[in-house]
């Protein structure tokens, strides 16, 4: 470890020196900036995201780079703190002068960086969920994950298909849960679904039995929907099973990872959630255009890092690939040209979905890109 430390120190000294005597650039790399929540409460997002970026920047460079120029990844860990994210974004656009930013693991960190990045006129592809990031559209801000509104729509649609009209909602008080709750409450009436119980938990809670008991005792509840991320939904799921509630149970895309299955164990049986096809690549029909992309990403990731792939890494994959695609289309790193190119991307097949960007839609994927998965025998199962 001390060796690693020494190397790190050497690297630090080198970067500092490079910063001071700026100028000596030989190959003019394309600078991809990134700030991610690699540590802290959102590390389950930032960690696979960073791994994905590192791995694919390597791969692209091995294959000759983009426009004949190598990619250079400049990354900072914001630890989930919005102020830190804003400062690192400032460093990226003002000090490192990156060409494009792919990052922002959470909505909070993304939104804190947005005003600055907008002013600096640097293209920014966010990896966070909330609908506010791209609605209203901001010229320089794009995002790859489906919005939480889309997730809510997809879940409620599935409920409706099963004839459910009255539901209980339980959500976290963190940014993801809050925004998800608002979107669900907003979308529900449009889809003819009534939210009859609405409770929350704080991300640091270690037991949600009280909240679930409250939902269970609300008359008329036909299904329960948990909008949250991190380990809390796993606790909710286990408490749900413990209390023996036998209503249909839904989670959000915030927990769409194999890790979640391990945490909940048998308690997860029968629950459903919206997710990208990344979790069930082999169940996709061969006609599905995403099948090949998803399989390739999954096997590459698992081989390189020796750990299970998660949907969140997929967001970073799509972000990086969209950035590369846009730079290639623009034929340069001219920011306005790259921005325009991003807006014009149509039918790009990614891990998350098929992206159709436009000047009025900087997200490009809708509820239909979500697949509904159900847990059966401890495995994800695609519901057709």
């Amino acid at each position: 470890m001390s060796k690693k430390l020494l190397r790190r120190a050497g690297f630090l000294a080198a970067t500092l020196a490079a910063g001071i005597f700026a100028g000596a650039q030989a190959a003019q790399p394309i600078k991809i900036g990134s700030f991610l929540s690699v540590t802290g409460p959102a590390s389950f997002l930032g960690d696979p995201e960073l791994k994905t970026l590192e791995m694919y920047v390597e791969r692209i460079n091995e294959a000759g780079g983009v426009l004949g120029r190598p990619l250079q990844l400049i990354h900072y860990d914001d630890a989930g703190d919005a102020s830190a994210a804003r400062n690192f974004a400032s460093r990226l656009v003002r000090s490192d002068r990156v060409d494009i930013i792919v990052g922002g693991s959470t909505t909070g960190t993304t939104m804190a960086a947005v005003p600055l990045i907008e002013q600096a006129r640097t293209p920014f592809i966010s990896l966070a969920g909330a609908v506010v990031i791209t609605d209203p559209v901001k010229p320089w801000v794009f995002k790859t994950p489906q919005s939480d509104r889309a997730a809510a729509q997809r879940v409620l649609q599935d409920m409706k298909d099963r004839g459910i009209t009255r539901i209980g909602l339980i959500s976290g008080t963190d940014g993801f849960g809050r925004s998800g709750r608002e979107q669900t409450l907003a979308v529900a009436p449009e889809m003819g679904i009534e939210v009859v119980a609405d409770v929350t938990y704080s991300p640091s809670d270690t037991d949600m039995t009280a909240q679930l008991t409250r939902i269970r005792n609300t008359p008329g509840v036909q299904a329960v929907f948990n909008f949250g991320f991190g380990q809390s939904p796993a606790i909710v799921t286990r408490n749900y099973a413990q209390l023996g509630i036998d209503l249909p149970f839904y989670q959000s895309h915030g927990v769409a990872s194999d890790r979640f299955l391990e945490l909940v164990g048998r308690a997860g049986e029968g629950l459903r959630l919206p997710a990208s096809p990344l979790l069930v690549p082999d169940s996709l029909p061969d006609t599905d255009p995403q099948k090949r992309v998803v399989q390739a990403y999954k096997s590459a990731y698992e081989q390189r890092w020796n750990t299970q792939v998660s949907t969140f890494g997929g967001y970073a994959f799509d972000g990086l690939m969209l950035a590369v695609e846009a730079i290639e289309r623009a034929g340069s790193t001219d920011r306005e040209a790259v921005r325009k190119a991003l807006e014009s991307i149509q039918g790009y097949v990614g891990v998350t979905g098929v992206f159709n960007m436009s000047p009025t839609d900087h997200n490009g994927v809708g509820p239909e890109s979500f697949r509904i998965l159900e847990v059966r025998n401890g495995q994800w199962h695609l519901i057709q």
Partner: protein, 291 residues
């Protein structure tokens, strides 16, 4: 209605028992050295994480638990020896910052060694929930309560029946006098940190099956433990237990009956209210200012 109440009550008591054990850890160290150890939560984390990782290496659960608790004890002694003892002349706030630094350091190492992911720990016994008066309870809750009660009893016996325990009590009352009668106060301080680490890690191990465990789980549990200790009255063992249970029950009741959004706010308001009327907590000693 009654079933609901029982459900909330048991939920509160289970989590409250954890708070109580953390609060007891605070109390032990506070009594021996008047330091508030903000790294107390990290002992919980070490207990849980070390057990999980030892289980992963194939150790049987009892062995894993014993080893994990021992590890925490060693870290507790090291904390006293290398971080608190060299700074004994420092201000109260400075000591607080040192323990905060220590907690960040320990967490940083845990993150390197064990990674950032949440881990599952199996229940000590069956996974089947237990039904009681219409309420459903996790069998692990009984382990938490049982082990908690056992530890409290053991602690009481330790302080009243053993020479070591009496030495700690003597040191907490008057350090100089204790030194005069031949008690090695540095030893006693180390012992207090070790005991406190053992308590914390046991709490961490027993609740891990309910809450999962990760490198950063100690922050909030540690803070709640401090709250419970202050509520009960710093330095009072009974206070720590009552404070912990009360805090847990109030949280669960608020989440169940009032608003889960403001659960923590209600708990904190209760503390303010208690402190307004009882400036030394529920069971704090009423010391007279000596001038």
């Amino acid at each position: 209605m009654f079933a609901e109440f029982i459900q909330y009550l048991f939920t509160g008591i289970t989590i409250g028992a954890t708070y109580a054990l953390v609060a007891l850890g605070f109390t032990l160290i506070y009594n021996a050295s008047h330091v508030i150890n903000f790294a107390q939560g990290e002992f919980l984390m070490i207990g849980g994480m070390a057990t999980v990782s030892l289980l992963g290496m194939g150790f049987p659960m009892p062995v894993a638990i014993v080893l994990a608790v021992m590890l925490a004890g060693i870290i507790g002694v090291a904390l006293q020896r290398f971080a608190i003892a060299p700074a004994k002349q420092a201000d109260v706030v400075t000591l607080i910052i040192i323990t905060i630094g220590a907690s960040i350091f320990i967490r940083g190492i845990a993150q390197l060694v064990w990674g950032k992911e949440y881990h599952v720990m199996p229940n000590f016994s069956s996974d089947e929930p237990i039904r009681l008066f219409g309420a459903v309870l996790n069998s692990q809750s009984f382990w938490v309560l049982g082990i908690g009660a056992l530890l409290v009893v053991a602690l009481v016996l330790f302080f009243t029946r053993t020479l070591m325990g009496k030495a700690i009590l003597a040191t907490s009352m008057n350090k100089d006098a204790a030194r005069l009668v031949g008690i090695r106060t540095q030893m006693v301080l180390m012992l207090a940190f070790m005991l406190s680490a053992l308590l914390g890690s046991m709490a961490g191990v027993t609740v891990a099956p309910i809450t999962f465990t990760a490198y950063d789980i100690g922050i909030m549990l540690g803070l709640k433990g401090f709250v419970a200790a202050a509520l009960g009255g710093l330095g009072s063992g009974v206070g720590a237990v009552v404070g912990g249970l009360l805090l847990g029950v109030v949280e669960a009741m608020t989440a169940g009956y009032i608003s889960s959004d403001y659960k923590d706010a209600v708990a904190f308001s209760m503390i303010l209210l208690v402190l307004f009327f009882m400036p030394r907590g529920l069971f704090g000693s009423r010391v007279v200012e000596r001038v």
